[in-house]
């Protein structure tokens, strides 16, 4: 049973009246209300900033009339304020030019279902959670420092934690009223290590999921709070990697050219799939002619990958309790689908809003999202590679690198960016593979690719599909996203991917 938003009666009362006011003036109107209650802790170099109470809410109003559209963001859930927004919207509609194709919205499927979501705490034991984080993370750093006593390294983790309860409501002049409640929790550490000769190395590690704070910090039977074992291991591994980077090597362009394979961990392939491919499946980008994969009419420009590759967006295997980008309904009230975007390397779908679905004569698939009252646009949730067959899907990394003479394993990312034809993502570290064996650690690098070609050279996978790479996608608005793929994806080195190692 999905939970109720905390002020459902008040939201419904204000929405009903505001929509009645709008209905008398325009053909169609809908409203989105978003509210977040969050606790947050930031450890900066010189400060510890605790925010045990942070509440924010915004509203988005959309008006449609005679094929024109107006979108207005409103500050507060106040009837007078929304009515003023309707009046301002009428002015915008009058000023708006007639679009080349009239704006239409595809209907909301399953309009009668009201409540969606997962249990989310309404109150947080902030004191206990914050104490556990500070003591736990600094304690782990000191432990790792002591372990490497001879190297005389300083391990300096900064971190940022938040846990929140998200609520939203969507209503329209056709009587739809839907709500969603979700928890979401995030922990990021930026670890700087100062070694001999003041050499500095840095990594970033993130944990995040559509789960309560208990994913990171748990209450022990004695009533004390501490980091979960999974969190402790995750952070310790990253502290160790940051220290190991002190002795990492660089690779020259000539050495890179000699590599026969690149093996990407899900934490590196995820951002690649998100940037290189995912954005190109967003229907607003397609409509604007900005997709390198699909033309303005919704037709594929060519194959996007080899036939072993499927590209997906949404929950993995219908599991709505996993993934940092997971949502049950989008911000237009459409249930989020598992979207098959590319099948056997060929484009078969797009990420759609109601508007772009109507534009391309397709069914909406729950892809429209807003950042706190901004206009709703097609966005990714969790985007991942799914092997299309088991043919080249190995059990583990050892099997995958067995035949690799000279390769590189790419691990972790600090983000990426996309253009129409290409993408770029940063890789936190690498490992050189020689004759099927892992040898030296390689310094951070930048991985770039020509969108339409890079994944045509995928020739193997290993391990289960994971979407635990946690990100904040910026497309004018910020959105929580997850991405990933099989634990390991192997790509034959080719002229459409570029790797450039620091140093």
């Amino acid at each position: 049973m999905a939970p109720r938003i905390s002020n459902e009666t008040e939201v419904k009362r204000v929405f009903d009246r505001a929509l009645a006011y709008a209905k008398a003036r325009v053909e169609y109107a809908d409203l989105l209300y978003e509210r977040v209650v969050r606790i947050e802790l930031q450890k900066l170099p010189a400060q510890l900033i605790a925010k045990p109470f942070n509440a924010k809410s915004r509203i988005q109003l959309r008006l449609l009339d005679k094929g024109r559209k107006a979108e207005i963001k409103v500050g507060t859930l106040d009837l007078g304020s929304i009515k003023r927004a309707v009046d301002a919207g009428l002015k915008l509609l009058r000023a708006s030019p007639k679009p080349e194709k009239p704006v239409r919205l595809a209907p909301i499927p399953n309009p009668r279902k009201v409540r969606y979501g997962l249990p989310a705490p309404a109150r947080f034991p902030a004191d206990d959670i914050f104490d556990a984080l500070v003591k736990g993370i600094t304690g782990l750093a000191r432990t790792v420092e002591r372990k490497h006593g001879r190297k005389k390294v300083e391990v300096k983790p900064e971190f940022w934690f938040f846990s929140q309860r998200e609520e939203k409501a969507i209503a329209d002049t056709q009587g739809t009223f839907k709500t969603q409640v979700l928890p979401r929790t995030f922990l990021q550490t930026i670890t700087r290590v100062k070694g001999r000769n003041n050499r500095m190395t840095q990594t970033r590690a993130r944990l995040g999921n559509v789960r309560p704070y208990t994913d990171i910090v748990r209450e022990t039977p004695s009533g004390r709070f501490s980091l979960t074992p999974g969190t402790r291991k995750f952070l310790t591994d990253w502290f160790e990697r940051t220290i190991a980077l002190q002795d990492a090597v660089t690779l020259s362009p000539a050495q890179i050219k000699k590599l026969d394979h690149m093996i990407l961990h899900y934490s590196a392939v995820g951002v690649f799939v998100h940037e290189a491919l995912g954005h190109n499946f967003e229907a607003d980008i397609v409509k604007a002619g900005g997709s390198g994969i699909i033309d303005k009419n919704g037709k594929p420009r060519g194959e996007v990958a080899c036939e072993d590759v499927n590209i997906m967006d949404g929950p993995v295997a219908g599991d709505f309790t996993n993934g940092f980008g997971t949502e049950c309904i989008d911000d237009e009230g459409v249930e989020v689908q598992s979207k098959l975007l590319a099948e056997n390397g060929k484009m078969v779908g797009m990420i759609l809003s109601r508007e772009t679905a109507a534009y391309f004569n397709l069914e909406p698939n729950g892809g429209a999202f807003s950042e706190m009252g901004d206009s709703r646009i097609p966005r990714m949730t969790n985007t991942y590679i799914m092997p299309a067959s088991k043919r080249n899907w190995k059990h583990n990394l050892k099997q995958l690198i067995k035949g690799v003479k000279r390769g590189i394993i790419l691990f972790g990312t600090t983000g990426g960016a996309v253009s129409k034809d290409g993408m770029s993502s940063s890789v936190q570290l690498g490992y050189l593979v020689l004759n099927g064996r892992i040898t030296r650690m390689v310094k951070p690098s930048n991985f770039s690719a020509k969108t339409l070609y890079a994944l045509r050279y995928v020739d193997g996978f290993a391990g289960p599909v994971e979407i635990s790479d946690v990100g904040f996608c910026g497309k004018g608005q910020t959105k929580y996203v997850g991405d990933g793929g099989p634990t390991w994806t192997r790509i034959r080195n080719n002229e459409y991917v570029g790797l450039s190692v620091q140093g």
Partner: protein
């Protein structure tokens, strides 16, 4: 929205709650946007957008309260929660804002008037579209015109009056064929005829051909690179200024010490929170310290660090007015902690004509935007990124566009600043600074 009234009520609430001090940053804004998507224009409005970023001190503890509703009840709840888990305050009290704070130019009535005229904004957007599509070879245009008006207030408990200003903002942005962009941004209204020609001029400047590092025979080689002012500002803000923040120095993570030669002798850099109609301009920073124009680097030598109040107290000096709520990732400004943050950046122009700089290069690159530069290493200054927007220079001419996904440049931003070999006479106003083009050497990766 009466920000002063809310601030007074908040100060009275603070007294009732027996706080030692309260600092309030309030904003209330309205924004009109015209989004350009090829031949379509969509109008969007944001109104009644209120934000409050409040800090409180009680018994040596500092608490943060962010909120988006002008509600005293919510503020009271927030203050009580914040005080339960407040960390040690880096200072005893907040700044006392001097009466009659300095006058700075932040408001242009012409922008405010245009904000009320969506039809005029739509017409300007359509003018950009029609002029751009007249140029042969234009396939896609993306862009936006944004106008906003913001009431902004900074108050503290013991200040006789708050710092208050109304700030307008105009910006227009155009991207042509996803290959290059241009923009205008200011708190005052620019020449709208020039704005209407932004896309047209850009489209005319695009070379018809693109090329690869292999064709140019520069892969893996060091080449001369002209850094566009937009890229230079990004480089300064993301990688270099970080090392000038007092907080970074105090954490022993900076490569710089005051008095070091950190740049070429031709480099002089100012940080300015008072420049007329510039982005950061306001009478005070977000802590109530008066903003100022600070010469940070002179003839290549680092003259001073940039301080907020916390780092200034640590070093026993005055804040340089660089305490700003600098948001990262999902943070809004009002939620962000106060961090040492650069205001607007002004780099002194040089003596070389830009056209001369290009003419003198046989094989080189002009770089305006490196894809994913936000992922560069702040600690070391190292970067290696795909070249997204720029030109390939061949025999003294801007000969071709970089073929997407085939070019990357690598280097170190801190070294770049030291190794600048030429600075252009011309400058470009980014809206948050005025900077020239500079010439350095980078590796084509």
């Amino acid at each position: 929205m009466q920000l002063e009234k809310f601030a007074k009520q908040a100060v009275r609430l603070a007294a009732r709650l027996r706080l030692d001090d309260i600092e309030i940053l309030l904003t209330h804004s309205r924004t009109l946007s015209a989004k350009i998507e090829n031949k379509d224009v969509n109008l969007e409005l944001k109104q009644d957008i209120f934000n409050a970023g409040v800090r409180v001190i009680r018994k040596g503890r500092l608490g943060y309260v962010p909120m988006t509703e002008p509600s005293l009840d919510l503020l009271k709840t927030g203050i009580k929660a914040a005080l339960e888990r407040a960390g040690a305050a880096p200072f005893e009290s907040f700044a006392v804002i001097k009466p009659g704070p300095q006058k700075v130019k932040t408001h242009d009535p012409k922008v405010a008037r245009m904000l009320e005229r969506p039809l005029t904004v739509k017409n300007l957007a359509q003018d950009i579209i029609s002029q751009t599509f007249k140029v042969k070879g234009v396939e896609n245009i993306e862009g936006a015109i944004n106008l906003s008006i913001e009431d902004r207030l900074v108050a503290t408990m013991h200040s006789p009056a708050p710092a208050l200003a109304q700030r307008t903002m105009f910006s227009a942005f155009v991207d042509v064929n996803s290959r290059d962009f241009d923009f205008a941004a200011s708190r005052s209204l620019p020449d709208l005829k020039k704005v209407a020609r932004l896309g047209r001029n850009l489209a005319r400047s695009l070379p018809g051909k693109s090329t690869t590092p292999e064709k140019e025979k520069v892969k893996g080689k060091k080449v001369l690179v002209i850094i566009h002012p937009v890229m230079l500002e990004t480089m300064l803000r993301k990688l270099i200024v970080e090392h000038i923040y007092a907080s970074t120095v105090q954490d022993r993570m900076s490569r710089y010490t005051v008095g070091d030669r950190v740049a070429a002798r031709t480099v002089t850099l100012w940080d300015d929170g008072t420049a007329p109609y510039s982005e950061s301009t306001f009478p005070t920073d977000d802590e109530g310290t008066p903003t100022r124009r600070t010469k940070v680097i002179e003839n290549g030598t680092l003259l001073t660090l940039l301080y907020d109040r916390a780092s200034a107290v640590k070093d026993g000096v005055e804040s340089t007015g660089n305490g700003r709520r600098r948001p990262v990732l999902i943070e809004d400004e009002h939620e962000a902690p106060v961090r040492c943050t650069a205001s607007d950046l002004f780099l002194a122009p040089g003596k070389t004509q830009l056209s001369r700089m290009v003419k003198d290069i046989k094989h080189g690159v002009l770089v305006k935007y490196l894809l994913g530069f936000h992922t560069a290493n702040k600690t070391t200054g190292d970067f290696t990124n795909a070249l997204y927007v720029g030109r390939i220079i061949r025999n003294g001419r801007l000969a071709a566009l970089p073929e997407p996904g085939r070019w990357a440049l690598k280097g170190n931003a801190l070294d770049c600043l030291k190794d600048i070999t030429a600075i252009s006479r011309e400058t470009f106003d980014t809206g948050s600074g005025v900077l020239p083009w500079v010439q350095v050497e980078l590796t084509v990766a």
